[in-house]
């Protein structure tokens, strides 16, 4: 199983040649990628791969079938086309549709190299498993084994319950250490022996011995120690855990929920895959923007012959077309990258430019600094969508592309244009991008009321949870936790706790508790 994951068909010579040529050009402009393997698939195979999230082998589950059914249908009626698929793996696998015109294949190949470069170099992908193709096949084999042993229906039901909680992960945890790590203390080697005493006590800042009483004043340490002790006593009394609210609910469940072996494994598979896919969600605008930037660049300079220009223009504009009143990540991404390149080419950055109040002069601003290309490479390395928008979205850009923010109007049950002010647009855009516009949910207590009940908290930021879904998700959560589960949230502007005990739901306003 583990080795026979790919169909490994030889690429037709003509495409192979295009691939090699495009690859050479891409490298010559500084793109840097893993080896990329292209395969040509027919429509059904492509839809299958797409339904599987790009992978040839996934575990059996109806949702892949649902996705496949929809893809095939919409494809057959010409409603939608998948031009390409590429997966973040080493080597990168990319798939071409056999019925595409040659110009489409060229475009796709160029586009794919943009993605491959992004996968390899963007910081947010640095922790992803580059052997995911194997890993996915491995997951599939494991789940198939459980199905053989436990039965299809049981495993499927459990997967459904896990999927319900799938996005309750902490996407930043791969980059940030949440727990203190003593061995990582800087300059430890420079310290004298007696200096190590305070490593035993938490709350101290590292310092040279002679500065210690200033950096870590004894009375403050004493006060903090007391507070810590009080908290500890309190905690032991309540027997609650975790110490800090934990965002990786799945990890918490893995550690503490009463799961059978196979259930534990299935849940960890779902969690692994969620972490693998998370960066793609975090960088959708950038990733598509970057790939589109490069396919345009490579195609218009080297890619096509005269007879292909019209088709190329047609397909490219289809990709970056704005559907009315919806943001197209391809479009926003490519325009923003071009905008950055232009600004850094013309020196439209830095304090001098920012402080210039004469709009006419700002628009005319042109210093021949030529840092554009260098800048966008840097941007693709260190940013994700949120920081990308935060850092580089300008009022001029918003006005030029006719951005607006919209908001829900409950009295009319519809979304209405709220504003065309830059600040509000930017804020709204960042809000939508933060955690994909999904709610933040934390585990607060795994021993709520000292009865082993699970208490989650929704970090309310002005948008309430969708009510029916919340109850149903609690039902699934309870299947895993086995004891009653609660979530603290806000309903109709009032803090509320929604509970499910395995039989019925309860909704209580907080003040009544």
């Amino acid at each position: 199983m583990a080795t026979s994951i790919s169909t490994h068909r030889q690429l037709p010579a003509e495409l192979r040649e295009i691939q090699l040529r495009t690859e050479d050009y891409a490298r010559s402009y500084g793109l840097d990628f893993y080896e990329t393997i292209f395969e040509v698939l027919d429509l059904e195979e492509l839809c299958m791969f797409a339904a599987y999230g790009g992978f040839p082998t996934r575990y059996p589950h109806w949702r892949f079938g649902a996705e496949y059914d929809e893809l095939v249908k919409t494809h057959m009626y010409g409603l939608q086309r998948i031009y390409e698929m590429v997966i973040n793996n080493d080597p990168c696998y990319a798939y071409l549709l056999n019925t595409n015109m040659m110009i489409d294949q060229k475009l796709v190949i160029a586009h794919v190299y943009g993605h491959c470069d992004f996968f390899k170099n963007n910081a947010f992908f640095s922790h992803t498993n580059r052997k995911m193709l194997n890993q996915m096949a491995n997951h599939a084999a494991r789940i198939s084994r459980y199905i053989d042993r436990i039965g299809y229906e049981q495993v499927e039901q459990f997967i459904d319950a896990c999927l319900s909680l799938e996005d309750l992960i902490d996407p930043h945890s791969v980059q940030i250490k949440r727990a203190p790590d003593i061995s990582a203390m800087p300059h430890a080697a420079l310290l004298r022996d007696e200096d190590f005493e305070y490593l035993a006590t938490e709350g101290r800042f590292p310092s040279k011995g002679y500065m210690d009483q200033f950096i870590n004043p004894p009375e403050v340490l004493e006060r903090e120690a007391k507070e810590r002790k009080d908290r500890e006593v309190e905690r032991v009394k309540k027997r609650s855990f975790p110490e800090q609210p934990q965002r990786d609910v799945l990890q918490f469940l893995l550690q503490h929920a009463p799961l059978r072996d196979w259930q534990h494994d299935v849940l960890s598979i779902i969690r692994d895959e969620a972490y693998y896919f998370a960066p793609q969600g975090q960088t959708k605008i950038m990733n598509e923007g970057w790939a589109s930037y490069w396919h345009t660049f490579l195609m218009t300079r080297h890619g096509m012959n005269d007879s292909e220009v019209i088709d190329y223009a047609d397909h490219h504009s289809g990709t970056v077309a704005m559907t009315p009143q919806r943001l197209n990540p391809y479009k926003v991404g490519i325009e923003l990258f071009r905008n950055i390149e232009e600004r850094w080419n013309n020196g439209q950055f830095g304090p001098e430019y920012d402080n210039c109040t004469d709009m006419k002069e700002k628009a005319r601003w042109k210093k021949d600094v030529g840092l554009g290309r260098q800048k966008i490479f840097e941007v693709r390395r260190i940013h994700n969508d949120i920081t990308f928008i935060d850092e580089f979205l300008t009022p001029e850009f918003c006005a030029q592309h006719k951005f607006f923010s919209f908001a829900y109007n409950p009295s009319a049950d519809q979304y209405e244009i709220a504003s065309r002010e830059f600040d509000q647009i930017k804020q709204q855009l960042l809000t939508s991008l933060t955690n994909h516009g999904r709610p933040f949910i934390y585990v607060v207590d795994g021993n709520y009321r000292n009865r082993g009940e699970l208490y989650l908290q929704h970090q309310y930021q002005g948008v309430e949870l969708k009510s029916g879904h919340t109850q149903d998700t609690l039902v699934n959560l309870q299947k895993l936790w086995a004891r009653p589960v609660h979530i603290e949230t806000v309903v109709d502007d009032k803090p509320t706790v929604i509970s499910y005990d395995g039989h019925s739901h309860q909704t209580k306003a907080m003040s009544a508790l």
């Binding site: 299958m48 599987y52 999230g53 059996p60 589950h61 109806w62 949702r63 079938g65 649902a66 059914d69 893809l71 919409t74 009626y77 010409g78 409603l79 939608q80 086309r81 998948i82 031009y83 229906e153 499927e156 999927l163 319900s164 996005d167 793609q280 969600g281 990709t319 704005m322 559907t323 009143q325 943001l327 197209n328 990540p329 006719k402 951005f403 607006f404 919209f406 829900y408 409950p410 009319a412 049950d413 519809q414 979304y415 209405e416 244009i417 065309r420 809000t431 939508s432 516009g437 999904r438 929704h458 948008v463 309430e464 949870l465 969708k466 029916g468 149903d472 998700t473 039902v475 979530i487």
Partner: protein, 368 residues
């Protein structure tokens, strides 16, 4: 070879049809793609299952869009739609779901979605048509019917046989003897004709919403029947207290007020059948749509006409009752009393737009 994805798809379809995992039924979402057929926009259902998750509701949500418009202008419906940036999908290049469809495709889809049986027409023994089918080859004929491939094949064969063929400069020129032509022969096909008579109550109690439902439903019925018969004739009758035969356009636009006398429509339908469609040669379909209000004393006459004059000559007589805020729906009850006696009388209640599919299935599910 069975691929794993086929098993997943099969499993999914079983869930949607409610055969397994009954508990998931409430999560079925009726996604749709929009098809365009001439003026009509038709929707093609694409069911999916929604996995419940902690999600934001509409209240207090919003997003960023791109395009023209003043503050306050609506940009989308609330409800289930998720606000915010277009949800990033895993696939590339998604476009709006609107398709240009042919009537045949529509009928195919309808047939397969609703699992409609093919209709066995009656009267096939009486009417026959002759059609030309190009199904053979001969050596003479007009140039326009020349069979290109066969002609060149023969020419090539002749060249190779005579040794005149040079693979390096492969020039093949057919001579007169090489030419082959398509030839037609007459086939006699049974010819099945169908007539559809639509009747609609346009009394004051039918609102525009109900008419819209009737319009959609009759569009689908048309589409299906058209795919099943060679020729389809349609007649439209509107009625309040009196009935009128009208054209299609008027049928959907007329707005009358006043009372309802269903028997008037039946009389008119009977007249049309006698005049245009001798039942021996025609497959006759009657579809009646009403909100179910009728003058009480008229009911007896209606039942009489229906049982004696209409039902015996029709393949199907379908009565669809649309729910109206004003109508009482009594008429359906009257019909229910006699429905068991006639195999080709079909009743259906259409509560709202979502009820349309179910109703079409009821009407056409018998394969008549």
């Amino acid at each position: 070879m069975t691929r794993p994805i086929d098993l997943d798809t099969q499993r999914f379809k079983e869930i949607v049809r409610g055969k397994v995992r009954d508990g998931l039924k409430k999560y079925i979402t009726q996604g749709e793609i929009l098809g365009r057929q001439g003026r009509e926009v038709v929707s093609i259902p694409i069911p999916n299952l929604d996995i419940p998750r902690f999600r934001h509701g509409s209240k207090g949500s919003g997003g960023v869009g791109q395009g023209e418009g003043e503050a306050g202008q609506p940009v989308g419906q609330g409800g289930d739609q998720e606000g915010g940036l277009a949800q990033p999908g895993d696939q590339e290049g998604q476009h709006i779901r609107e398709a240009e469809l042919t009537l045949d495709e529509l009928a195919d889809m309808l047939g397969s979605e609703l699992e409609l049986p093919l209709i066995t027409p009656k009267g096939d023994s009486t009417l026959k048509t002759k059609k030309l089918r190009y199904n053979s080859i001969r050596q003479t004929g007009p140039k326009s019917l020349r069979h290109f491939k066969r002609t060149y094949k023969r020419a090539l064969r002749r060249l190779i046989a005579t040794g005149g063929y040079d693979p390096l400069t492969p020039v093949v020129i057919p001579t007169h003897e090489d030419e082959r032509f398509r030839s037609s022969s007459e086939v006699v096909l049974p010819h099945a004709n169908a007539a559809v008579i639509y009747m609609m109550d346009v009394s004051g109690s039918m609102t525009d919403d109900q008419k819209q439902i009737v319009r959609t439903e009759s569009f689908w019925i048309d589409t299906w029947l058209r795919s099943q018969y060679d020729g389809l004739q349609r007649r439209y009758i509107v009625h309040d207290a009196v009935a009128h035969e009208v054209d299609e356009d008027t049928f959907y636009r007329t707005r009358e007020s006043g009372g309802t006398r269903i028997s008037s429509a039946y009389t008119m339908a009977q007249k049309i059948i006698e005049r245009d469609f001798p039942p021996a040669d025609w497959n006759i379909y009657c579809f009646q749509f009403s909100d179910g209000d009728n003058w009480g004393e008229d009911n007896t006459l209606c039942m009489q006409k229906l049982q004696n004059d209409l039902i015996p000559v029709c393949n199907l007589f379908c009565y669809g009752q649309v729910e109206s805020p004003y109508g009482t729906g009594d008429y359906l009850r009257e019909l229910k009393k006699i429905v068991s006696r006639f195999e080709n009388l079909i009743l259906s209640e259409i509560k709202n737009r979502e009820g349309i599919y179910e109703s079409i299935k009821t009407f056409l599910g018998k394969g008549k």
